[in-house]
Amino acid sequence: MTNKKKINEQIKSATLFLLVLSIVLMAFTAPASATTVDENAESIDNLATALTYVWLLLAGALVFLMHAGFSLVEIGLTRTKNTANILMKNFMTICLGVLVYWALGWGIMYGADAAGLIGIDQFFLKGADNAMWNSWFFQMVFAATGATIVSGAMAERTNFKAYLVYCAVMVGLIYPVYGHWVWSGADLSLLAGGDSFIVKAIGQGFHDFAGSGVVHSIGGYSALAGVIILGARIGKFKDGKPIAIPGHNLTFAFLGTLLLALGWIGFNSGSTLDGTDPFMNLVIVNTFIAAAASSVTVMLITWSKTGKPDPSLTANGFLAGLVAITASCGSVENWAAFVIGIIAGIVVYVGVMFNENVLKVDDPVGAISVHGYAGSWGLLSVGVFAVGAGNGILADAAYTAGGAGLIYGEVSQFLIQVVGMLLSIVWAFGISFIVFKIIDVVIGLRVSEEDEIMGLDMAEHGTRAYPEFIINK
């Protein structure tokens, strides 16, 4: 072996030694830390998921309480003799809501898409994991809402059994189908999927953040179909002129309204569906600004019309503001929320008067106006005031209306909102009209005149809600 060779060998072996050492050292430090870093990243992901779970469970809890709110508003604005019946209807709405949305509704809404129209698996939560259970609970508390809205408009004269059947159809079919079109996330989903022919034609997806359309319009226009078929309560119209039939407990009506407002915190900010989405804050600020503006607007209108600010309409005004901003709360600036609220207030007042004076339909709690008309306005408001994805205050938002609104000079978002709004009316009114007609023929939608005069509490449940109090009929 030459010297040179030997030296070369030495150099090689030293190099090799260092190479190995290097790698060993790396392995000892960097790769070790690499593992931990990844573990940390995974822990962070898990924690973010956990935060979303906690968030949606608690937001869902608040939304659940809305059922108490709906019950109380409906009871407060109707007469004592129908109170137990209303309590039962709303309570059964929850029970059937849970069971039917478990068995059917969720699958139709979020199951694998068929032609953009309907979901077709995951019935009975088949194959559910933690994430799906989490979503299901939050979606389920929403689902029963639509039926509750209908219950309110049809109060004091609807057959209990007929209502139960309708309620199941609402939660199992009417609500989830429209929901599928908007919220399923399927590529083909009719109103929001990127591959939907409508969306392609207009060039923008329909945006209904927390459900001015999916929940409220669907409920409101279904209610309209219901009250048209059902007819007005005995004594509501005299020679074609609407007569006031005062409700029995304003305290319940206001407590209910406040519980609904509370629930809306979960309803709207929970609809980020992500516990780490910082835009839930904008959502809530917009929500309350719109509601307050709407309520004050209605108060001022009634004050100017009759000289006295009307309590129950003012409470309706708050709800109308909430309903309207529900679609747009994650897409607009604060001042726009204020304007949306004011217009919602006008819409709900005019709507109530229009229903009674022009349509001559009898909606004891104002549900059609609050949820239907204000819901439609909410859908449109997105197309008018949306800042647009990636713009201004919403630059970093993960989920907002894609296009900017009319006031920013864009048209496509408005167009798709009009389409979505019209579809919500056509679908809800149409299918509910058919369903109610069938129920009317098969079961009978309305109680007998005698039962209505006696009150549904005695007629349907053989009981009275306040047996010790002397009631002045």
Binding site: M458, G462, T463, R464, I470, I471, N472, K473
Partner: protein, 112 residues
């Protein structure tokens, strides 16, 4: 003077009042009462158990008026309050010895 005391169905109250008004009889006093007569009580239920409430809600209308008008007013009430079902109620007539209008202190005929 007479007092007419009519025990009627609560649901008939407004009809009767309107008919009385049409007949020129505007003044009256109304009380919520409960009663029983020929009409049997209604069966109610509480926590799955039935029970019978034998006093049914009724409305009492009291009208003090001159002797001459008594028959006419009784007829109006009978006509509007009757449904031909048991439980329609009864009318009782009592003698009245005097009337005073509190506001003015006027008596009897003038006070009615």
């Amino acid at each position: 003077m007479r007092k007419i005391e009519a025990i009627i169905r609560p649901t008939k109250l407004h009809e009767v009042i309107e008919a009385l008004e049409a007949a020129g009889c505007e003044s009256l006093t109304v009380t919520e009462v409960k009663g029983r007569g020929r009409q049997k009580g209604i069966v109610q239920q509480w926590r799955g158990r039935e029970y019978c409430v034998d006093l049914l809600p009724k409305t009492k209308i009291e009208i003090i008026l001159s002797e001459e008008r008594t028959e006419e007013v009784i007829d109006v009430i009978v006509k509007t309050a009757a449904t031909d079902n048991i439980g329609d109620g009864k009318i009782f007539v009592y003698p009245v010895e005097g009337v005073v209008r509190i506001r003015t202190g006027e008596r009897d005929g003038d006070a009615l």
